[in-house]
Structures are given as structure tokens and as C-alpha cells.
Symmetry: C2
Subunit: 267 residues, 2 copies
């Protein structure tokens, strides 16, 4: 019988994030399979590598490796060949192409230093921007933002801002409360740069109740009440209408998905 | 003659971040080559895809694709075959392995919804944690942090916190000033959880002068003076000694590198 679960071992000489990103992109295509993803990171010597390999034997296991040192790669390949284990090298196919095209050799440096070019510094300053313009902390200089997110509490403004910052966009987010006037600056900004986040009433009630519980507070406070949240959502909708901005419903959407929708709108 | 520069086209039906991560990991191995990386994102129909492909002809160009739809993949493969262009599929080799092992079919959903599992929510709350514990804004609850970063101004505390949050760690960062007492809580925390960031005096002077210029202020203020910065660095070193924490010099290190060092220390 074909198993309906699968173990993916990621073996990396650094954090293992590169391989994990690809694995996540692939595994989401199979919601019916239970994946067990194990990251073995900072593996930079033969002994440690062999130790890990010797525990991998199963039918439904696969090895993904991103190892800069060729001798370590060779060990993985030999082990997999001798034990009939499927493996994929996520790094070397591209290295081979680069070498073939340019005649240059890879430096084989473990976790090679990323180039600290202009992009690199831009991304860092985008992150600093997102942090200082989080939750409406600052309104001065709001016009310098590439993207302004509006939303009531628990519409994923913060992680969304950070994720977009990681993709090099300067993002500000502003919380909406019916009782508080939004900063006047908002009305002078190009509405194409503004995104209004909204969500489903019932989903939001649950999320807020969970939040109250995690704070050790009464889950049925006004913060999580039906009438309160409906009033907040209505206030937000009215404001989005007035601004003429794009509105995105974040219910059941991951941060990556919402970010895709936003960037696709800018495209 | 073999060219010493190379263009990498990333064609994605979503943001293109997955492929870019792998490309970045590979290209850093060749500091001597000038890479031109072009991301064509949100490509989800034949017409747009053909438009992009028709402009790719060069000797030193290569195509990386991560397209969920099989028919779009087929178009790339045919075009590359007919025009003798090197291409790499970053997604389908893994999809094939999964299908072979489990007998399941990929959903072919463009930018398939990432599974919003426990990890997903943990990462979002790690990001929120990093933002609310940025720059010493909060000290209550500091003990809940997985990692506490200390450092004087411009030692990359904020982007580092965010990057580690993205890897699921709860990080707080606290700025150090000789005139301000660090929060008492620090001395009760396991020093293994604390990382002291330091940097080279000359490098820091330059960075701070740049910062002052970007604010339209005098670059030779006390903030960027030699005596001031030396005093700050000495104060930080003394504190790190007292705490007995790991010290990392961030000069010429990228965020990813420093993060690797930190995580490797925790391992």
C-alpha cells in the first residue's frame, strides 16, 4: 500500500531556510498528505552527517540537501545510492549551471556571506520602517511608505507588514477604532497605496476570544462581543469606501497569500 | 570567451520568493561574477508567459521556474528546448518525488494556500513579539523571550530580531546607552539566552554619519563622534562581561550570517 504520510529530511550546513522554503511551496500542493518535515541544520562535518544519515532508512522518507562542501554532498549521494533512498540536491544543479556558463568555481564556503549590496541595506531599512510605523505609532513621514495597511484589531496587520518588509517594501500599518479619528494624512495619500483589511465577523470573534484567554482574561469581554466587532467592521468598511482603496478579506488567508494579492495589485 | 556576468530569470506564478531564496544561496558562492537577477512574478497565463520568454535569448541567460500549472511548465520546457536555453525547475522535482512516494496528485493551485498549522500561528506571534519588544519598548514579560539581543545604536538589532522571528524565535532587543540603566530583569535571565552585539569602531562611525546625513543633520554630531562611540562600546563590553553572555561582532556580517551564528550557539 502507498503510504499517505511522508518524512522530509532537510540537511543544511546553515539554517536550512532555503530548502524549507522550497519544501513548503511543494507540500502545500498536497493537503491530503501528512508531512513530517525535519530540519537538520548547521551540519558541517562528516561525523555529524553520518550520524544523521544512519537514522534515515524508511520507505516514505526523502532527503533534501543544500551542502556547500562537495565532500559532504558526496557522502549523502553514496549513502542514498547504497540504501536506495530518494534524495534531491537543491543547490548543486544551479551551481553546475553557473559554472558551465561562466567557467567559475564555487567558493564552497559554508553559509557563504550574502552580498551586502544596495538591496540588502534597503531590506534592513524596510524592516526598521515597518517596526517604527507599526500600529500607528508614527504618522509623520507616512507618505514615504510604499504600502499602508488599515484594519481593526486582529486582521494580521503586523505580520503582514513585516513579511512585506522582508520583500523590500516600506509598510506602515494603522489600527482602526470607531472612537479614534484616523490620521488626517491618510486622506492626502494616493489610495492605490492603501489596503483595507477586513475579515469575517464570526472568525474574528473566535480569534479575539482566544486572545483574551491567552491573556488570562474573560473571553466574553466587549473586545470580543458580536455587537462591538460588527460596529468596528462597519466603521472600517465605510472608511475604505470613502478612501476608495482596495479591500482584502484576510479570513482563512495566510500572510503569504494576502501579500501575494497585495503585490499582484501593485503589479 | 566565457562571460563573467550572468542573467538569471525567475518565473513564478506567485511572489517568486522561493526561487529567489535558492538563487541567493547559490550566487553568493561566486563573488567574482556579476549576476543580474530578474523576477517575473504573478505569471499565471500563457500569453504573459510567452511574452516574457520571447525576450530571453542570450548566451549567458538562464531560466528558473516555479509554476504550479503543468501546462505553463510545458511551455517553458518547449521554448527552452527549441531555443537551446538552460532552465531549471525548482518545484517539480520535489513534486515528482512526493507523487511517486504517496501516489497523490498535486493540486496545481497557483500559490497554493500555505497550511495554517501551529507553526504558522507561532511564527505570526513571534513576529508580533519581536515588534512589541523592539528597542526596549517593553521589559515586562522579557523572560518569555527565546533570545534577547543587546547592543548600542546601529548594531542591526531590529532587522536581526525580525529575521529570527521569521524563523519562529521570540526575540526581544534592548538598546544600550551608557547613561541609561539596563532593565533589572536582564540580570535574572539565563545568560545563555542573551546575545551581546558589538561592532568595529571605525565601521560604526561611518554608519552613524550616514544615518545623520540621511536625516539631513550634521554628520559630525556627538552621536557619530569617536569618543562618544568608544565610550558606548566600552560600556557595552563591560556589561557583556558582567552578564557572561555570548558576544558577536556584526561588522561586515549580514543578518543571515549573524542569525546563523546565534542559532548555532543555541544548538
Amino acid at each position: 500500500m502507498i503510504p499517505n504520510d511522508m518524512t522530509i529530511h532537510i540537511i543544511s550546513d546553515s539554517i536550512g531556510q532555503t530548502a524549507l522554503t522550497v519544501v513548503n511551496s511543494a507540500t502545500v500542493q498536497y493537503p491530503q498528505i501528512k508531512f513530517n518535515i525535519i530540519v537538520h541544520n548547521f551540519v558541517d562535518n562528516q561525523e555529524e552527517l553520518l550520524n544523521i544519515l544512519q537514522k534515515i532508512r524508511g520507505e516514505n522518507e526523502v532527503i533534501i540537501h543544500t551542502l556547500a562542501q562537495n565532500n559532504l554532498n558526496q557522502i549523502v549521494e553514496n549513502y542514498c545510492k547504497n540504501n536506495d533512498i530518494t534524495h534531491l540536491d537543491f543547490l548543486h544543479p544551479l551551481l553546475s549551471v553557473i559554472e558551465e556558463k561562466t567557467g567559475q568555481q564555487a567558493s564552497e564556503v559554508v553559509g557563504a556571506k550574502p552580498v551586502m549590496d544596495e538591496n540588502y541595506f534597503e531590506r534592513n531599512s524596510a524592516m526598521e520602517f515597518a517596526v517604527s510605523y507599526d500600529d500607528g505609532q508614527q504618522t509623520e513621514g507616512l507618505a514615504h511608505a510604499d504600502i499602508i495597511l488599515l484594519g481593526i484589531s486582529r486582521t494580521s496587520k503586523t505580520p503582514l507588514s513585516i513579511y512585506l518588509a522582508y520583500l523590500n517594501y516600506k509598510v506602515a500599518n494603522i489600527p482602526l477604532y470607531p472612537e479614534v479619528q484616523v490620521p488626517e494624512e491618510i486622506f492626502d495619500i494616493d489610495p492605490n497605496k492603501i489596503i483595507g483589511l477586513t475579515t469575517n465577523l464570526d472568525a474574528l470573534i473566535k480569534i479575539r476570544q482566544e486572545r483574551m484567554k491567552s491573556y488570562g482574561m474573560d473571553p466574553d469581554s466587549s473586545y470580543s462581543s458580536w455587537t462591538r466587532i460588527r460596529a468596528e467592521l462597519e466603521y472600517a468598511e465605510k472608511l475604505y469606501d470613502q478612501l476608495g482603496c482596495l479591500v482584502i478579506d484576510v479570513t482563512h488567508r495566510s500572510i503569504e497569500e494576502t501579500a501575494s494579492l497585495i503585490l499582484s495589485h501593485f503589479k
